[in-house]
Symmetry: C2
Subunit: 454 residues, 2 copies
């Protein structure tokens, strides 16, 4: 029986680890340049910390850990006999795997509030787990890379997060990303104007299809969802929203003039858009998207989402927003926060598709000493020690070849691992060095060997 791993999980080969590390290090470096500090939280939290924070669907998708020991001893017999899995879970499981980084962060802030200096700029790069149905690009174990600021309502943060997205994607060589922004207050304003707060999601979902099904299709869908003709008439300018960000904001300001909240949202967005226009971006484009509504019940101000460059088919590769009362669930009121997240797995797929991993240095030796006789092993050990002290990744083939076949096996090993420099023999303190990239061979001293392979 061949061993396997649970569905939705992955083994990573050394090339994959190297590429993933490259992405994470790029994100980490940018986070730190922007003044964010790392924290880490445990893999599992008390169930009470996680349950009820992600809706009913979320509760279902959280991986629960079975209590240790004789966990059934104290469970009521009638409850067991009822076979009500949900109710039994609460009796036999007290811990659960992290479902995202945001709720553990909120828990961390409340628990450590006396050690933290606010505004607190933290980043966190750790795996999370969801018992979701696995599919292409969606796994049961995956990494999130989050940066958040809590304890400040300043819009400078929103500006910096746009810059941070631009910085990371530029540094990854991923040019032409689109940073889409919206504001929850604009959505609330639209709901006010259409006079139907409960229809807001139906409205934005329909509006989002404008490109695909045209104005008539959108209107038809809105009507079918119970949005009145009058309401649709009121927001018709949204169907023609075009031009520069500023022009679109002017249309919105006009449309939402009867809604205080809507006007606030427009002015917040305008401030961010204008500042970014003044500062400039390196490779990304900032655009307005009034249909952007991710996690509607969660965000209270800015909403971010990043799309891969045109031509790459991929869902959003990042997202985030402002939330006014994140820590309230753990008893610390009035701490406004804003944050963004990078989707590591999707970014990986995009970089792979565009061939942007080519420059990543793979963790493999640069130099291999073949081992065709036992007598020279001490000299090989001394040479490899000298190379390693110079930081040159190198190794000796461990087993001494005692036949032609075994010698071939060593050459094959060098081939398969694509090791560029091979020392085949040592003669009178001269190392026979083969440069397998250039296809050259020469004899050299240890000093020359270090120079050649460094």
């Amino acid at each position: 029986m061949k061993p396997s791993i649970p569905k939705g999980t992955r083994d990573f080969s050394s090339t994959e680890v190297a590429n993933r590390t490259y992405i994470m290090n790029t994100i980490r470096a940018a986070f730190e340049t922007y003044g964010f500090q790392p924290i880490e939280t445990p893999t599992f939290e008390n169930s009470s910390t996680l349950m009820g924070k992600y809706g009913e669907e979320g509760d279902r998708l959280i991986f629960k850990i079975l209590n240790s020991g004789d966990y059934l001893a104290k469970v009521d017999e009638n409850l067991l006999a009822s076979k009500e899995s949900n109710k039994v879970t609460a009796k036999i499981s007290e811990k659960a795997l992290r479902y995202d980084l945001t709720v553990p962060f909120a828990r961390y802030v409340v628990q450590h509030q006396n050690e933290i200096t606010f505004p607190f700029k933290r980043y966190q790069i750790q795996p999370v787990w969801r018992a979701d149905r696995p599919q292409k690009g969606r796994f049961r174990e995956f990494y999130q890379c989050d940066a958040d600021v809590v304890g400040s309502k300043s819009l400078l943060q929103e500006v910096e997060f746009v810059q941070l997205y631009d910085e990371v994607f530029t540094n990854l060589g991923l040019k032409g990303t689109t940073i889409k922004m919206n504001n929850r207050k604009i959505l609330s304003g639209i709901a006010e104007v259409i006079g139907a707060k409960d229809k807001l999601i139906d409205f934005t979902v329909a509006l989002d299809k404008l490109d695909k099904i045209g104005e008539d299709g959108v209107i038809k869908e809105m009507l079918s969802k119970g949005i009145s003709e009058e309401a649709i008439e009121n927001v018709k300018p949204l169907f023609q929203l075009s031009g520069s960000n500023t022009e679109q904001l002017d249309v919105l300001a006009n449309l939402l003039s009867s809604s205080e909240e809507g006007k606030d949202g427009v002015e917040e967005l305008r401030s961010v858009v204008n500042t970014i226009a003044d500062l400039g971006l390196q490779s990304a484009t900032l655009t307005l998207d009034v249909t952007l509504a991710r996690g509607l019940n969660y965000y209270t101000g800015a909403i971010f989402e990043v799309a891969a460059p045109e031509g790459v088919k991929m869902g959003s590769i990042g997202g985030g927003g402002r939330y006014d009362d994140l820590t309230g669930i753990f008893g610390l009121k009035d701490v406004s926060g804003v944050g963004i997240s990078f989707g590591l797995d999707r970014i990986y797929l995009v970089l792979e598709e565009l061939g942007l991993f080519e420059a990543v240095e793979l963790p493999k030796p640069k130099v291999l000493f073949l081992n065709f006789n036992e007598e020279d092993n001490l000299q090989r050990l001394k040479a490899v020690q000298a190379l390693r002290r110079e930081g040159i990744k190198s190794e000796i083939y461990p087993d001494t070849a005692t036949s032609n076949n075994q010698q071939k096996k060593q050459w094959k090993y060098a081939d398969k691992r694509a090791i560029p420099f091979v020392i085949s023999e040592i003669e009178n303190d001269q190392y026979v060095l083969k440069d397998r990239v250039k296809g050259e061979q020469r004899n050299c001293t240890l000093e020359q060997l270090i120079v050649e392979t460094k």
Copy 2:
């Protein structure tokens, strides 16, 4: 109700993350210099992969994950009514958290045997989980840092692992560690000589107390464990084992002359000891320890253990050995392996005790722009953008101070985060720069600011 985390788990502050990352990066760099490649395996494995691999105690300490959905639906009612937790577990849990890195590695090698080039030198730095009773230095979630080679029986590997320990601890500034070595075959030889294989552990445990309770005490304990006087007489030279490694090996060779396996073990150790004597170590000492028997049933050749420098009270900070049939449990026979592990948490405590984290660069901004008026924010943003593009960690205090108290709060923020450079004002493109380490203040241009703070 203040939020908390499960016992035996930890939150890590940014200083702790930075120090832990420093240790891991030092280990990782040495691993790669020695030709090891990283792999990563999933946090949870199929229970069948882990169960039965760590003994009964291990099975008990493995964290099990509850199946998703209506997991009780198909469980036999009589089984539930019996409340036999162990048997029920098999029906309601199919996955479990990684308990160490070795068994998942063996599973990886077998599963990916056709993609792997042997000898396969892999390293893995990942957390593991054990439902152990938490105590000082022992956690339920902790990292292991392992390097292993599979597919070669060459003793060069053993030599390289001694060098690797020396390299890592030297690079961490931890001088004076002791690398203890033994060989399972020597232990088997001793068992042969005392004529009691089943008493070997009692024997080594007693012998290990020589320093504390003296020869008479050791003999008394051995007798009480049922080891015969005659057997003790046979191995008396072990009680006087002293002198250089070579001298001790000579005594052992003599003592074990009637045991083929014992003699093999002595010669293997002699080869490693002699080669290391020729090569030299940077800061560690290699010593023989015939009482060293960690994981006796597991290792088949060399056994390693590393002790912290004298004066530091701490259990072993590393260990490992050779095992001849690791992958056999998953159906791939005759793959010899040898590996070592670094104990991250204990190394952390040792470095902390010795003050060896002082040089670690903390992830905090070098430069803070105070924010005492709104008008200058665009200029601040432009300045901070210029600094960040030069890789200088920097930030703007997000909220504009509108009172003296709020200004004080910003200074306090700079204090608490120990930010060395603070720009308090901007006047006519001149930045008022306070160097808080030197206690100096000067006005400078943006270009000068970059030079000063880089």
